[in-house]
């Protein structure tokens, strides 16, 4: 009895070992290293020698007091909330639209997935060509209707809007797909019953679709939030966070600190990265909390 139980335990550990190894090597250790980086005063010399002195929360203080901190935080919030709001509403609208099957709806739906399938370098470069001040198609089209050129990527008042627009376009397919599959899980009988009771289309959406879709909506928004918080490539390719920090978010700032300069400041870069992780974690915890209650 005991011997076989022992054997069972060993087998259990053997089965768990690969995933534990994987988690330790690819999650726990990098996270620990990042935390360690952010708590030490790294210069290039001490980075190579591995003897950076422990500096406590110095890097965090430095980052918070940096003139870039306020704008970067604000841009991160605007970028995330702006992207989420539009991605979600447009994704929802399209999902509701595609639930009613019509000729070619499958093909059209597949076409809507293109932004999600394209490599980000391709879509971001395409957007930055389209939004080019002098030779972009967007300014050309605006010129046709008599509106003067807008410096989409090179004006401090437009650059954040431009990257948000590109990010919304990229995020819609994800929202569409998840919400669409959620919609299909709602039994058509409920709609039939509602229709018999005389509910209008608008009432059916607000009273049936939206409440029944709540769990799916919640996870879509949470995943969207985590994705959007850490969006880096689109902004970096389109504006590099500029001009004059006007489209810098925590993600691009962290990269710029760590890799964007000839003389990397790993400590502050890691500190900004950790702040991002904490923000994502807080929203994850709120989500779990609300799921439980």
């Amino acid at each position: 009895m005991t011997r076989s139980a022992r054997g069972g335990q060993w087998t259990a550990w053997a089965f768990a070992a690969p995933v534990v190894l994987y988690l330790v090597a690819f999650y726990a250790y990098p996270l620990y290293r990042n935390l360690d980086l952010s708590l030490r005063d790294y210069t290039v010399r001490s980075f190579v020698r591995g003897d950076a002195p422990f500096s406590g929360s110095d890097n965090y203080t430095k980052v918070v007091q940096d003139p870039t901190f306020g704008p970067a935080l604000l841009h991160t919030v605007i970028f995330t909330l702006g992207s989420l709001a539009f991605q979600f509403t447009l994704g929802m609208a399209l999902a509701v639209f595609f639930v009613q099957h019509f000729p070619l709806s499958g093909m059209l739906r597949a076409l809507f997935l293109v932004p999600w399938l394209l490599p980000l370098i391709v879509s971001a470069s395409t957007w930055s060509w389209m939004l080019n001040s002098d030779s972009g198609i967007v300014n050309w089209a605006l010129g046709l209707v008599g509106i003067g050129p807008v410096n989409w990527l090179t004006s401090p008042s437009w650059s954040l809007t431009s990257v948000i627009i590109a990010n919304i376009w990229i995020g819609i397919p994800f929202n569409l797909v998840v919400l669409y599959s959620g919609l299909q899980a709602i039994s058509p009988e409920i709609y039939e019953a509602a229709a018999l009771d005389g509910a209008t289309g608008r009432q059916r959406f607000w009273r049936i679709t939206l409440p029944l879709l709540r769990p799916v909506s919640a996870i879509t928004l949470l995943l969207g939030l985590v994705y959007t918080l850490k969006v880096f490539d689109i902004i970096w390719i389109m504006t590099k966070g500029g001009p004059a920090d006007s489209s810098t978010t925590f993600a691009t700032w962290s990269y710029r600190l760590g890799f964007g300069n000839l003389l990397p400041s790993f400590g502050p870069g890691a500190a900004v990265g950790n702040l991002l992780i904490v923000i994502a974690l807080i929203f994850g915890l709120i989500y779990i909390r609300r799921q439980r209650s």
Partner: protein, 414 residues
């Protein structure tokens, strides 16, 4: 029963941890063995991923290795990737034997203790031009040998200038250049394109104007510095330069010039091959100083360096490989392939003999200055980032040139 399960769980976890530690230990041990072996090939890292194994560059590396009696193993990295790769490798004790890296990075790597100085690796630098080698010097030591240099000048489109009635030879200073741009605009063409992107490239392109005004990198907000930024800002305001310069890399800026609509483009030696393909006649003038003369442009191009090794006996062979790479004949071949100007007068003369059009570039390289020179070293990156931010802020209208540079000086002095 329950407590025994828990005990087993703890034991299991402990064993797993032991196993992990064992694996890690075994790995590091085998690593030590490999590095002790005498037959380990000499690793060379370069920022030329465009050259594959069949290229002349690869063949040259193999030949230099064979001449030194060893095999070489070459890896080409993207240049923006190479600094961090080199730092990480040094941290892991895995540095390549020969590292070819962009010149402003040398002082950073030297500061990190990654590179050997010429005292240790016995490289001969006597024939190299002093203004080029200065980028590799810090604290009185020299940490590498330039393999080739490039710099910036103004390309112009002959047809556009003729149409606007501008004689390129008449452009001697900033006022005459601005006047030429005004004429070009009046003739319905576009003035000048350059790259003012928010990266090192932006600072690189701004520096000829900044230095040409007489400003020093130690004082960004001097009246001279402000006048240089004012020049660029006014060009944008007047429509002499397109607004897109704020996001232009040197490649996108070149693409604008290649459309044939622009009179001038500030770009580098490396575009010569593309210029020949552009389909219009072009000429080159040096970037003028504020009131005449040639403005010192920053030097670009790579250095060959010998990273620190635990096995110091490897330096002599590495030095042989480097000497082979930078020997007169090989420099000529390499710099012709890379479209660079050679770092020694002897090879420069041969380059001009081969292609007289290169003379303007040889002169520009002679007048050029290293960014990390003047003993700035690792201070340069801390000056360069505020500088490119100031250029972006002024060109985009977020701040006036004066305010932007004052803020930049504050950030650089921190």
């Amino acid at each position: 029963m329950k407590s025994s399960t828990r005990r087993w769980r703890t034991t299991g976890a402990a064993l797993l941890a032991l196993a992990l530690a064992g694996v890690a230990g075994a790995c590091s041990k085998s690593g030590d063995h490999a590095s002790g072996g005498a037959a380990k090939p000499y690793a060379i890292w370069d920022p030329y991923p465009q050259f594959d194994a069949s290229s002349a560059w690869s063949a040259l590396l193999t030949k230099c290795g064979t001449d030194a009696g060893v095999t070489v193993q070459r890896t080409g990295y993207d240049t923006s990737d190479l600094t961090n790769k080199a730092l990480l490798a040094a941290q892991q004790g895995n540095s390549p034997d020969v590292l070819i890296v962009d010149n402003p990075v040398i002082s950073t790597l030297a500061d990190a203790g990654v590179l050997t100085a010429t005292d240790d690796n016995k490289l001969d630098i006597a024939s190299m031009q002093p203004n080029l080698i200065s980028a590799g010097q810090s604290g009185g030591k020299t940490y590498g040998v330039p393999i080739g240099a490039n710099t910036l000048a103004l390309y112009y489109n002959k047809a556009v200038l003729t149409k606007a009635g501008v004689d390129a030879a008449s452009i001697k200073d900033w006022p005459s250049l601005t006047a030429a741009l005004a004429k070009v605009k009046a003739a319905g063409k576009k003035g000048i394109t350059f790259s003012a992107i928010g990266t090192e490239e932006g600072s690189f392109q701004f520096l000829p104007w900044f230095w040409g005004s007489g400003a020093q990198l130690t004082q960004l907000d001097s009246p001279q510095g402000v006048s240089a930024l004012q020049l660029w800002t006014d060009w944008l305001k007047q429509g002499y330069a397109p607004n897109s310069v704020i996001n232009n890399t040197q490649t996108t800026s070149w693409q604008e010039f290649a459309t044939g609509d622009y009179a001038f483009a500030e770009n580098g030696t490396w575009q010569l091959a593309n210029a020949a393909k552009a389909g219009f006649e072009y000429g080159i003038i040096p970037v003028p100083g504020i009131s005449g003369g040639t403005a010192p442009a920053p030097t670009g191009g790579e250095f060959v360096s010998v990273p620190v090794q635990t096995d110091t006996a490897r330096y002599s062979t590495s030095a042989k490989i480097v000497t082979c790479l930078t020997s007169t004949d090989n420099l000529l071949a390499t710099d012709t392939t890379l479209s660079y100007i050679a770092p020694t007068t002897a090879v420069q003369d041969k380059q001009i003999a081969q292609n007289p059009a290169l003379k303007v570039w040889v002169d520009a390289v002679k007048a050029a200055k290293g960014r990390t020179g003047d003993n700035l070293g690792t201070k340069y990156p801390k000056i360069s980032e505020p500088l490119w931010n100031a250029v972006q802020a002024a060109l985009s209208g977020a701040k006036s040139p004066k305010d932007a540079l004052t803020a930049a000086q504050g950030a650089a002095a921190k």
